[in-house]
Amino acid sequence: MSDQAITLNKTGYGDNGHGHGGHDHHDDHHPKPTFWNTYVFTMDHKTIGKQFLFTGIFMAMVGLFMSVIFRLQLAFPDTELPFLESIIGKWGEGGKMDANFYLALVTMHGTIMVFFVLTAGLSGTFSNFLIPLQVGARDMASGFMNMLSYWFFFLSCTIMIASIFVTGGPAGGGWTVYPPLSVLESANPGSGLGMDLWLTSMAFFIVSSLLGSINYITTVLNLRTKGMSMTRLPLTIWAFFLTAVIGTLSFPVLLAAALLLLMDRNFGTSFFLSDVYIGGEALSNEGGSPILFQHLFWFLGHPEVYIVLLPALGMTSEVISTMSRKPIFGYRAMVGSMMAIAVLSFVVWAHHMYVTGMNPWLGTVFMLLTLIIAVPSAVKAFNYITTLWQGNIKFTSAMLFSIGLVSLFISGGVTGIFLGNAAIDIPLHDTYFVVAHFHLVMGSAAAFGFFAGVYHWFPKMFGRMMDRKLGMLHFWLTFASVYCVFFPMHFMGMGGVPRRYYAFSAFQFTGHEAYIDLSIFITVAAILGVFGQGIFLLNFLNSIRRGKKAPMNPWNANTLEWTTPVNPGHGNWPGKIPQVYRWPYDYSKPGIKHDYFPQHIPDDDPNWVEGVPEPVTEPAVKPEPQPEVVVSSED
């Protein structure tokens, strides 16, 4: 057995047949499993994935909670809400939220959601969990770096959460932390210790992200099992791979920006400062440019959108294909469009800066490049829709969220055509139109991808099923809530209402009472949506302990992770790693006895392929008796 494993495992890991990866060579003995090395400082990719998952969910709760608090301010600007004081203390004295704290909440909500939930929580969880399982590897290329990646992330979370509690409050200049506001404490109290912590936290976050990304890239390139050529990779893996490439190339730039900002703040440099008069005196800084920071920030900031979105699109492709019982339509076009998106994502960043005073000629170039990105996005959307066509759709919770994602991706994506157009961006820039756009296309769509992933791979993660009916309730509540919250925001955007406003009463064009009614509607919808997430959380936690036991391949899917035991151990496959014979999307293929045809089944297996005579020899892997698609609570 041992020699077979070595031939299959192309890296040349010594695989001793006990099923653990070869990464712990520093210790000749198999380390004794203890609580600490099993659950805490683990190097097992599956456990690390779950660590990212739990941390991500915790951060999501914090981020969502913040949004509810500031939504209350927007809906009831004149009402005293005494409970605010008991939640946010001095910032809510007398039941009125402090304007600085409003900005701090908006900032932290954005930061936490974009980086900690949708980057680390989504990509960190599923890249870690799925890459080795789906490419057929025992573990990540470097289990140790993988462990470091999580613990840097944990450190980063701790610092970010701690920054909420410092004097002056957390960073409050928007998640984009534009200087000079983010440099000058006298301009904004959040730009004190809170901002230093923000930057420190982000620096650790970037370290974590890079450690993870390098690992993902290496694993995908080097640790694929026999027969798993790049063109046979599931789209999930393609998505994770491209995401990691984008992250590796763009996150360092943010690190540079963060360090320069730290120096401007603490060491008297002038990278981003010039001609500033604040707190009763003119600063001596001269020659810096705030625009420079924006270029550095958005050089990460825009690819970041795709770092968030691609994994969600990848997982959704997998789910939609499996649950429609159809091959994903246009596999090559899907890969190609993801590659196109990945490349283009690096050359569109300045569309966030049309009206910053940047040379207008640049605006035309970036407008052209930005609108080109709509083409691969359209291809993806059409391919999803065609995959559904003439399928036999099973509405599992994961499938519901995947269809939801496609709808949100379209609805949020089309408004990008307005915003990417520099001329139209003039009236719409920094209004609620933008808030609506990116919350639909990036925030909600990615969150839906996250949920699809959790529901779909939960059986592999915890060996149990989540409750389908609660999942359904969760989906419909969330889907309705998302549209109720973000769709009407377009109206405010078309009325010109700027974002990041503490109240709308100061202006005639923003002060319409109808907008107050709308704000109340949005806030109520948001609270109901958050309630929906409570259902998810209960379902999730409950199912871990009490969910129905999962079968080995609950969705009758083709990919390799379903060939592992229900609770895969260290090393993933107890025996040798299966070999791969085809792409992962042969669903409902004519001439096949079942409506799926897993990657590891040889083409001449008589249990699967019609017209093949009964074998003289045993088939490589016996198909387990397959029931109709098994779904949680029904049986």
């Binding site: 005494p82 600085n100 090559r332 609108l371 709509a374 519901l400 001329a423 009236p427 409902s588």
Partner: protein, 549 residues
């Protein structure tokens, strides 16, 4: 297996859950109603908050936009004066009532918003609260109790009800959750025997149909507030045209793709017998939906580049120019005009101090005739050369009605050129045709909290007063900030007034007479020093035309 559980127990549980939900709903409703039965002064406080707090501080000893109201009962004339004043103060002033005129003069001729929807009883309630109010006795700074106000009982009651409503809401959420969980664990099957695939397939289609209807209907609700259809500037009209052209494309794509998505989800929902079609690729189809979007986008890009270039390119020399400088600072704008020489004095932040708000070079000749104004006054038909600066953090100059937006960057001057095509007065005329703006001012508050109407039979507002002021008469162009800049970001307002060229020139002539030194002084309100524009006061010039005094 679970279905085999005792049917009777299931029924009871289901009923219990229903009862629980109904009960809680009732409690919530009662919670809402509760406010209506509070004491007079408490009602007054609520009314005050709702109607007066926009301008008058709830801490009556403090002045806000409007004057402090502590002890107002002792100052004001007796009788029905207060009713008339609150319902329509302008009318009282026009009638020449001496105390009213005095108030008006004292408050820089700012008009109080008319409140025709308040009944005499409402006003009595408000006065009851004002009379009962006790200012806080020298609260210690930072003391948690510093917001103590008079009438603590009423306050306490209000807070209590807020608490109750919040708690009830939280409890409902919690209980529904718990109920669902318990039910599940005990084996109660919700949706037992329902084909979930069919149900979801139907819900998909239902969601889309309902969503489309809701989208169309709600667009109607907010249509009147869209500002994207009558730009008051030349380039703005181009942008609007492009916006609506794009909108046609976007709506088409949005509706077609979503319809296909939800329709397929409905149509191909799981059906045991059907074999899904093995259909992995179709090169021709892929080409179609690569090339068609590419072509459509090419058109949009070309139009976009053309518009963007024309907006951003250097202005046409043949047109008259007018220059104005907008200086952003935390949290307001300083508006500077170059004076007769058409040249601005140089600015350096290191010179800021004392009277010199902008850091202007006081010795330079160009500076001598520069002047600062309260409102942004623009000349119709000229190319407006907007020079944009910031002295502290990033701000962004935003003139929504003119489709102008450009960041104010410390250390880097930015500009925006545009031509205003409509005067304030012309825009007001245009708004006559708008469903919202053509209505009578404050009509929206006649909603009057429906429960208040329901609980009192006295709906008595004077229709003869309210038909005098239309919303559009108070319309003003505005200047706002769209780059987050700290706590006051949401309130960086300046009024923008567009004048006919001859009006503007006359105003400019007069304004330039003032010396720069005066203009730069912060203790002098420039609006006092410069020729006053009727109708440019904060609350607007009601029906009067904008004319020079």
């Amino acid at each position: 297996m679970k279905y085999e559980q005792n049917e009777a127990v299931l029924q009871v549980r289901k009923r219990l859950v229903k009862l629980l939900l109904m009960g809680l709903t009732c409690i919530m409703l009662v919670g809402v109603q509760g406010n209506a039965f509070a004491a007079d002064a408490a009602t007054g406080q609520a009314l005050f908050k709702e109607n007066c707090n926009r301008c008058h501080s709830m801490k009556l000893e403090n002045s806000s936009t409007g004057p402090a109201l502590l002890g107002v009962s002792e100052r004001m004339p007796e009788g029905d004066w207060i009713y008339r004043w609150i319902k329509n103060s302008q009318k009282v002033i026009q009638e020449g009532e001496p105390y009213a005129v005095k108030l008006w003069e004292e408050n820089n001729r700012a008009n109080m918003d008319p409140m025709p929807h308040l009944t005499n009883a409402d006003i009595d309630d408000i006065m009851a609260w004002i009379n009962a109010y006790q200012p806080a006795a020298a609260p210690a700074p930072g003391d948690g109790a510093s917001n103590t106000v008079g009438l603590e009982e009423a306050e306490g009651l209000g807070s209590l009800w807020n608490w109750v409503r919040f708690l009830v809401f939280a409890i409902v959420v919690l209980l529904v959750n718990i109920a669902l969980q318990i039910a599940r664990l005990r084996g109660v099957e919700f949706l037992a025997g329902v084909n979930l695939d069919k149900l979801n397939a139907r819900l998909m289609l239902g969601f889309w149909v309902f969503g489309l209807v809701a989208a169309v209907w709600s667009t109607g609700l907010f249509r009147d507030y869209f500002i994207l259809d009558n730009a008051a500037s030349e380039h703005g009209q181009e942008i609007d045209q492009l916006f609506w052209t794009t909108m046609v494309v976007v709506i088409a794509v949005f509706v077609i793709t979503n319809t296909l998505l939800f329709w397929f989800a409905y149509k191909y929902g799981k059906d045991g017998d059907r074999q899904a079609k093995y259909y992995p690729e179709n090169y021709r189809l892929e080409m179609v939906w690569t090339v068609v979007p590419a072509i459509v986008l090419t058109f949009l890009v070309i139009m976009g580049i053309r518009t963007w270039t024309s907006v951003m390119s250097a202005p046409d020399d043949s047109k008259e120019m007018m220059a104005v400088e907008v200086n952003g600072q935390q949290w307001g704008w300083i508006l500077r005009y170059p004076g007769n020489d058409q040249n601005f004095g140089e600015i350096d932040v290191r010179r800021i101090g004392g009277d010199n708000l902008l850091g202007v070079d006081m010795n330079a000749d160009e500076s001598k005739d520069d002047f600062i104004t309260q409102d942004l006054i623009l000349r119709k038909g000229s190319v407006i050369d907007l020079k944009i600066r910031s002295r502290d953090v990033l701000h962004s100059v935003y003139l929504p009605h003119f489709r102008v937006k450009m960041d104010a960057v410390p250390g880097m001057d930015t500009r925006f050129h545009f031509v205003a095509t409509q005067t304030t007065q012309e825009y007001r005329e245009y708004l006559k045709g708008n469903g919202f703006w053509s209505q009578i001012e404050r009509m929206d508050t006649i909603k009057l909290d429906t429960f208040r109407i329901a609980n009192r039979d006295t709906i008595a507002y004077d229709t003869t007063i309210i038909d005098t002021v239309y919303r559009y008469e108070n319309f003003d162009f505005e200047l706002a900030c769209t780059e987050v800049c700290g706590r006051g970001h949401f309130s960086m307002r300046k009024k923008v007034v567009v004048l006919e060229p001859e009006e503007y020139d006359a105003w400019y002539e007069k304004a330039s007479q003032a010396t720069m030194y005066k203009a730069m002084r912060k203790d002098i309100d420039p609006s006092d020093e410069f020729p006053q524009l009727a109708g440019t006061e904060e609350t607007g010039g009601s029906k009067s035309d904008i004319i020079l005094e």
